[in-house]
Amino acid sequence: MEPLRRRARLLSGRLVARDTWWMEFDCPEIAAGALPGQFVMLGKGLGDPLTWMLPRPFSVGLTRPGGQVGILIRAYGEGSRALCRVREGDSLVMLGPLGRGFSTDQPAECVAGGVGLAPFIFLADWYRRHDLPVRLIYGERDGGAVFDPGFIARLTGCEPEIFTEDGSHGRRGRVLEALSRDSAANSLLMGCGPSGMLRALAEHAVRVGRRLEVSVEEHMGCGVGTCQGCVVRGAGGDWIKSCIAGPVFDAADLDWDRAGGR
């Protein structure tokens, strides 16, 4: 569907991990059209002359039949911190749904790092409603950053397998270890998370001969293809706009050796 720009009122904001909020906005038209893996640009608009902030891209974390759009926000810098401080009842400006999402027609094995979990909450719920099997593997650096697993299960009907690097929550280690142990090789592999994790996942997929879809993250200006800011390196060496050609790509279509350019 064509992207819509709407005021989105915050219905509920819930601290789900350190510096990490699960926010549900009232935005029925965008909720109705969004697909797993698509994103929205979330910002404050131009209404307040003392506030200048570029909107930021967020994966759609969930949609509900009642018109809610769920967003997972981790406060990294001033901008994301400002968004986390929005109070229930206040509104932000949401532009979306944007970009191309994940395939949703076959069993999936999803690997999430950090807030890369967000699109897979949506996808797991989508799969539950469409009666398709999904496995959710979720890694964080430490237990304090782990999104409440009971809450994930309530949102998606899916129990995530949790890994932390320091072993303070779930299994000690990295998400890739789950794949090497036991893996549903006939399912589509999907990934979203830090670039190092995605690169390792892409190498794994090549090694074992599985198809992999990844959701990439690059600094974005506009979200709709005009600013040409959010490029990633394609397998053919060309720069590809992640906002309209992605953010979900077949991993084989990207150049993982020169992904960052430097």
């Binding site: 064509e2 992207p3 720009r5 910002g43 404050k44 608009g45 131009l46 002359p49 200048w52 902030m53 570029l54 909107p55 901008g79 400006v93 532009l95 690059e218 600094h219 974005m220 200006g221 506009c222 709709v224 293809g225 005009t226 600013c227 040409q228 800011g229 959010c230 490029v231 990633v232 060309d238 720069w239 960052g260 350019g261 430097r262």
Partner: protein, 303 residues
């Protein structure tokens, strides 16, 4: 009454979309009514295709952003084949200026010569001020080089020829005079300022190109000043650009001497920004004693 005749054409609104922030128009067609605006300035077109810079290409700053896209574009032939037809077929009221960039005088001349027989656009905005490529500011900061460039392009076209000035000079007025003497039809003031953002965690520049151009509300007063200075030193019409996000911002440029304005970075915050500025200007003009945008241009009382 915000309609005006400038560069021999009717602009139904003084508000245009700035180069580099609206792609080639088509990207915004689903989100805004381009025909309600005065027009748009395309992303820069060079003779050969350019791949652009490595990411990150954009970073936010207080009151603005830094970008170093690197003039990514499909080149002259690609622009004519894939971008210009959409502009020609879909815009009849909004005026189109093609932003032109080059590495040499011959480059610029070849792009203008190659485009001049095509339909679908009014004229050229010559980019002598992009700081993101090697040598990109050479023409904009050297009066003799700028004179040679404008003279050469003038020889290639009778269409409106507008030069987009860089603010990175001691006195913009000197460069405005050069453009007028060499036969340019107008000026755009201003392009971005060079800037850098440091990622303190990695101790590296955040932008892949290391430095980029600063735009956004932070540069509004510099743009208004450059517009005022250009009008003091030349009689060429000025298109005011830099930091506009409201009708009052645009009115500052207009009172300082701009007959048209461009909205750029604000479109990233709100794709409707230019439309809102245009509607707001209409209301401001209606409320002013002059009731006409043309009478407000340069109406600044700076005695």
């Amino acid at each position: 009454m915000i309609e005006q005749r400038v560069f021999g054409a009717w602009f139904r609104s003084p508000v245009l979309l700035a180069s580099g922030t609206c792609g080639y128009g088509q990207e915004y067609a689903d989100l805004i009514d381009l025909e309600s605006l005065g027009g748009l300035v395309t992303k820069a077109v060079s003779l050969e295709p350019r791949p652009g810079n490595a990411p990150h290409r954009v970073a936010e700053t207080a009151g603005g952003m830094v970008n170093a896209i690197g003039l990514e574009n499909p080149g002259l032939a690609g622009f004519i084949a894939t971008k210009l037809p959409w502009l020609r077929d879909n815009l009849s009221k909004a005026q189109v200026l093609v932003n032109v960039v080059g590495r040499s005088v011959d480059d610029y001349a070849a792009v203008v010569r190659g485009l001049d027989g095509e339909d679908g656009f009014l004229g050229y905005e010559i980019n002598v001020s992009c700081p993101n490529v090697k040598g990109g500011t050479m023409f904009g900061t050297n009066p003799a080089a700028l004179a040679e460039l404008v003279r050469r392009i003038r020889g290639e076209t009778d269409r409106p020829l507008i030069v987009k000035l860089t603010p990175n000079v001691a006195d913009v007025g000197e460069f405005a005079m050069v453009c007028e003497e060499e036969g340019a039809d107008g000026l755009s003031a201003i392009n971005t300022f060079p800037g850098m953002v440091v990622d303190t965690a990695s101790r590296r520049p955040l932008i892949g190109n290391r430095s980029g151009g600063v735009s956004g509300p932070a540069i509004l007063p510099m743009g208004v000043h450059a517009t005022w200075r250009a009008r003091q030193c030349s009689s060429l019409p000025v298109i005011g650009v830099g930091g506009i996000r409201s009708a009052l911002d645009a009115m500052q440029y207009i009172m300082a001497g701009a007959c048209l304005v461009q909205v750029g970075t604000a479109s990233f915050v709100d794709p409707m920004a230019a439309v809102r500025v245009s509607e707001g200007l209409a209301a401001l003009v209606e409320a002013a004693p002059e009731r006409s945008i043309g009478d407000l241009v340069g109406s600044l009382d700076d005695a």
